[in-house]
């Protein structure tokens, strides 16, 4: 899933005639001062991070004049909100709110269709409202082939007594526009929380737009990184390198995510960091069941499966080895129909380029386990090309279990560490 920041979501909103407050994106105090001077005080300073409840976390502050703006920017920019570093701010015109409404569109798996949700009482703690007062939510399942017409949106509000006709028209216009955003940008969630009722009409004060990660390539105009989902943080540059591999070639996949990008977790907990690649996500779990209790920690997840071409294995092997501080590399295949001789060729080419002085023999403990289709050919290729003859390389075949792999890696790593002087 690709999440847009608030200001990016609002850019989409404006394309579909959803009103938003005047605002500017800034990255330093000088830009913030210039933006506020142009917009006019009072303004709101908003941290642009992938997190909800930013107000409670100190990421949203009002400023009625320049001193307050300096103070607000100083408290937010460069600091962290829920552990996420704030590098970008949105400076917006503060509006007088008469009332708050919630509007969201998401996929309902039980209905197998999009569903529009409106809460006339606002969206503070919308999850609790949905559980405790579901009758206050107005829902409209959408026939995705028919779409949403303006009168459909207006009809959702027909039983609401305490909204004027003008406000209902405005909300219906917003619902129609939000559905266009949802459909055209392949969203999993498009949400306005809150949609403010003001004297000038309704206006979207926040924007949450989550796009289906598999559709990112369909929206080059959004300039989103082609990388696997990595939770609330932005994709690292190395994850973007890996993401481009699948983007340019659909044959098989190499899903790569850095679990511990700066090795801070592994080092703080006395774990041994290593690079990891597995054919099959399930096999990677069973492999971790064996390796983690022994004190090893994978700094990345990688699932190179779906019978990827050899060039993908070449590229992703270079990516995995490009993580500083790793004390080993483990490749394991589940028993599948993947053509493992091609997998082996990709790994061999990568190792020969990374280690030209040793003709492809790595300087860190490396265990490669080939189990499945063409596994014997894969083992033979590694021997023919001289990789498996390396001091720090062990190649296992179809009879090996995850436990065998873990024990081989531990033995090799202990020997390697001793050779390094026994220190890390």
């Amino acid at each position: 899933m690709a999440k847009l920041l608030e200001y990016q979501g609002k850019e989409l909103f404006r394309r579909f005639k959803i009103p938003t407050p005047p605002g500017k994106v800034v990255r330093c105090l000088d830009e913030a001062l210039a933006a506020a001077a142009q917009i006019g005080y009072p303004v709101i300073v908003k941290a642009q991070v992938y997190a909800g409840k930013r107000g409670k976390g100190g990421g949203i502050r009002p400023a009625s004049d320049e001193p307050e703006l300096r103070d607000a920017v100083g408290r937010i920019l460069g600091n962290q909100i829920y552990g996420l570093p704030v590098e970008v701010l949105l400076i917006e015109k503060q509006v007088e709110i008469e009332r708050e409404i919630y509007v969201g569109i998401t996929a309902d798996p039980t209905l197998r269709s999009p569903v529009i949700i409106v809460s006339i009482t606002g969206g503070v703690s919308i999850e609790e409202i949905a559980q405790e007062h579901p009758q206050t939510l107005i829902k409209l399942p959408v026939d995705i082939l028919r779409g949403v017409y303006f009168f459909d949106a207006l009809n959702m509000l027909r039983n609401v007594d305490d909204l004027s006709s003008a406000v209902k028209m405005g909300v219906a216009q917003v619902i129609s526009g939000l559905y266009e955003v949802y459909r055209r940008y392949d969203c999993k969630l498009a949400e306005i929380n809150p949609l403010a009722v003001t004297a000038e009409g309704v206006i979207a004060l926040d924007a949450r737009v989550d796009i289906d990660g598999d559709s990112v390539s369909r929206h080059p105009d959004l300039n989103l990184a082609q990388a696997e989902e990595a939770g609330d943080r932005r994709a690292t540059l190395l994850e973007q390198v890996a993401g481009a591999i699948d983007h340019q070639d659909h044959r098989g996949t190499v899903h790569f995510v850095q679990i511990d990008p700066d090795l801070s977790y592994a080092r703080a907990n006395g774990k041994v960091p290593f690079g990891f690649d597995c054919v099959g996500a399930g096999a990677s779990l069973t492999m971790m069941d064996e390796l983690v209790p022994l004190g090893y920690y994978p700094v990345n997840f990688c699932d190179s499966s779906g019978n990827p071409v050899g060039s993908k294995l070449y590229r992703i092997t270079k990516v995995i080895f490009s993580q500083p501080g790793i004390e080993g590399y483990v490749f394991v295949s589940c028993v599948s129909s993947q053509q493992l001789d091609n997998t082996a060729r990709g790994i061999i080419k990568a190792l020969k380029e990374l280690y030209p002085e040793t003709n492809g023999q790595p300087n860190i403990p490396t265990v490669l386990a080939f189990r499945g289709a063409w596994d014997e050919e894969a083992v033979q290729l590694l021997a023919e090309h001289g990789v498996s003859g390396g001091r720090w390389v062990r190649v296992l075949g179809r009879d090996s279990t995850e436990k065998d792999v873990a024990e081989a890696f531990r033995a090799l790593h202990e020997e390697w560490r001793t050779a390094q002087g026994g220190v890390r």
């Binding site: 540059l237 190395l238 973007q240 390198v241 481009a244 591999i245 340019q248 070639d249 044959r251 071409v309 050899g310 060039s311 993908k312 070449y314 590229r315 270079k318 990516v319 080895f321 490009s322 993580q323 500083p324 501080g325 790793i326 004390e327 001789d341 091609n342 060729r345 990709g346 061999i348 080419k349 990374l354 280690y355 790595p362 300087n363 860190i364 290729l381 023919e384 090309h385 390094q420």
Partner: protein
């Protein structure tokens, strides 16, 4: 013969063959492995060197399955005439920004 045979592949890489080196290659291991994979390399009967058995557009669409076998076999049993360049956009930028060297460049 100083001719070079070069063609693009699906993932954005380039295969380059120095045909002058291929003339005295007897085993032609690149052709053997490519035939097994159903790839584009065939023997150019007239010149006795590798040629293409499918249009360039078909190769770039995925006709070459990028098994890398031709390069590895040529290096091992042939005349070291064939290279495959597979760029990784942004990797150099990433490496340049690291504060700690990677293991294959002396880091640990």
């Amino acid at each position: 013969m100083s001719e070079v045979l070069a063609f693009k592949v699906r993932s954005g890489g380039t295969v380059t063959i120095s045909l002058s080196r291929c003339q005295d290659c007897e085993g032609r291991p690149c052709l053997q492995v490519c035939r097994v994979q159903g790839g584009p390399l065939v023997l150019d009967e007239a010149r006795g060197v590798p040629g293409l058995g499918m249009p360039l557009a078909e190769i770039e669409r995925g006709g070459c399955v990028e098994c890398l076998g031709c390069e590895l076999e040529c290096a091992l049993r042939g005349r070291q005439a064939l290279t495959i360049d597979l760029p990784l956009p942004l990797l150099d930028e990433y490496l340049a920004g690291l504060t700690e060297p990677v293991v294959y460049r002396g880091g640990r």
